[in-house]
Amino acid sequence: MNRMSTEGNKAPQFDICILEELTQLTLLDLCHACAAQEQQISELVEIGVLEPKGREPAQWSFDGVNLHRARVALRLQRDLEVDLAGAALALTLLDEIASLRRRLNTLGDLVP
């Protein structure tokens, strides 16, 4: 995380960081960033969508990729009225589609 200042003296200063390079989000951080309850996050851990380090919820530490996965899973659950297991399945398939697209792109078949 680096302290940066924006152009000009009047602009506010704030800390920026690349989320995916973070490794130590706590359960509370994750709940907050997803506007979710601990119960929902625990459920996502149980069905394997999120993979924290640490055994007990109090020691859980999530990396930044988990935040993105949690947000997508919760959005799918809410907006499509499916349960978390259904959202998890959709997420797995979306990941697979994304990796296939990347692969296609590398092969040069998908250049617009």
């Binding site: 924006t6 960081c17 690349i18 995916e20 799918l76 499509l80």
Partner: protein
């Protein structure tokens, strides 16, 4: 403001049952969900669907909306009737979409407080709400880093208790080596909080497709056209990379598809990505008499059958 035809948005007739409304919404929501759909206007369509469903799934709100009659058409100029909304009870228990984005049309019919939509749970520790937005940059900017002015519409309460939005501009420096789909967190730039610290702002990075580079992770791929004689005889050729022009040695006897690695010529990082050049032999057009004569000479003097391995 414009009248919104919620039935048309859901693609149903005005006399359908509640079950049919639910079915129509669910089907379209799967089709246009921004996390699932690749369609360009998916986000806008999905918001519209959420708003239509929010009204039509609730028998009370639907009855109210139906009171406006079928005489209005989508997009038509609309003003709510003076006696609007009397005798109906609304419940703000919406769950579809992001209710904060509902249209003015919706707010004029169902009140400002519905704009807050589903009751947002008070964030733990009293910290302000986190906000999320997208930022789109070029591959060159991702390579070198850049500064972007991000304009945020911030809802505020005016003296009369009405919600209005104020534009706030942030100059965000985007670190070099950022990749597609990564998120930049700006601490304290999200929703404010009375007493406690403000929420954070998350920017999802989108990298615009490049006319000739392709990116996978931190590696950058380039299809490099070469001439048949460069491929056959070997040559030193210039190659563009994000960090500037470099020269590579095309080995003698190269064929199309040959991949060559340019170490650490990809996106910066720890470790940095590599560049990959994929050779692609371009055939000179036979569009002059001289060029045709050269091809004919090759035909006569070179014994070359590219289909020899196929037994023909």
């Amino acid at each position: 403001m414009e009248f919104k035809d919620y039935y048309k948005i859901l693609g149903v007739e005005r006399d359908v049952t509640q079950d049919e409304i639910k079915r129509a919404y669910r089907k379209l929501a799967r089709q246009y969900h921004p996390d699932v759909s690749k369609e360009k206007d998916a986000e806008a369509r999905f918001k519209e669907l959420g708003e239509a469903y929010e009204v039509l799934k609730d028998v009370g709100k639907r009855a109210s909306y139906d009171q406006l009659g079928a005489s209005y058409k989508g997009g038509q100029e609309f003003r709510p009737p003076p006696d609007w909304g009397t005798g109906f009870g609304f419940r703000g228990d919406g769950s579809a979409g992001d209710a904060t984005d509902y249209s003015d049309f919706f707010s004029s019919l169902f009140g400002q407080h519905f704009r807050q939509g589903r009751a947002r749970r008070p964030p733990p520790q009293g910290k302000g709400e986190d906000h999320h937005a997208k930022v789109s940059i070029s591959l060159e900017d991702a390579y070198a880093g850049t500064t972007r002015a991000i304009t945020l519409s911030v809802p505020t309460l005016d003296a009369g208790g009405h919600v209005s939005t104020v534009d706030r501009v942030l100059n965000v420096s985007i670190p070099k080596g950022i990749r597609e789909g990564q998120h930049i967190r700006l601490s304290g730039q999200g929703g404010p909080s009375a007493g406690a610290s403000a929420g954070d702002l998350y920017l999802e990075v989108e990298i615009q497709p490049h006319p000739y580079y392709r990116v996978e992770g931190r590696d950058v791929y380039l299809d490099l056209p070469i001439t048949p004689w460069e491929a056959a005889l070997g040559a030193t050729v210039k190659v563009p990379t994000l960090g500037g022009t470099v020269e590579i040695k095309v080995p003698e006897g190269s064929s199309s598809g040959r991949k060559m690695r340019l170490k650490a010529r990809g996106l910066p990082g720890n470790p940095p990505g590599d560049g990959y050049v994929i050779l692609n032999i371009a055939i000179p057009p036979a569009n002059t008499e001289q060029a045709k004569a050269l091809y004919r000479k090759m035909e006569q003097e070179m014994s070359f059958n590219p289909r020899a391995g196929m037994g023909v």
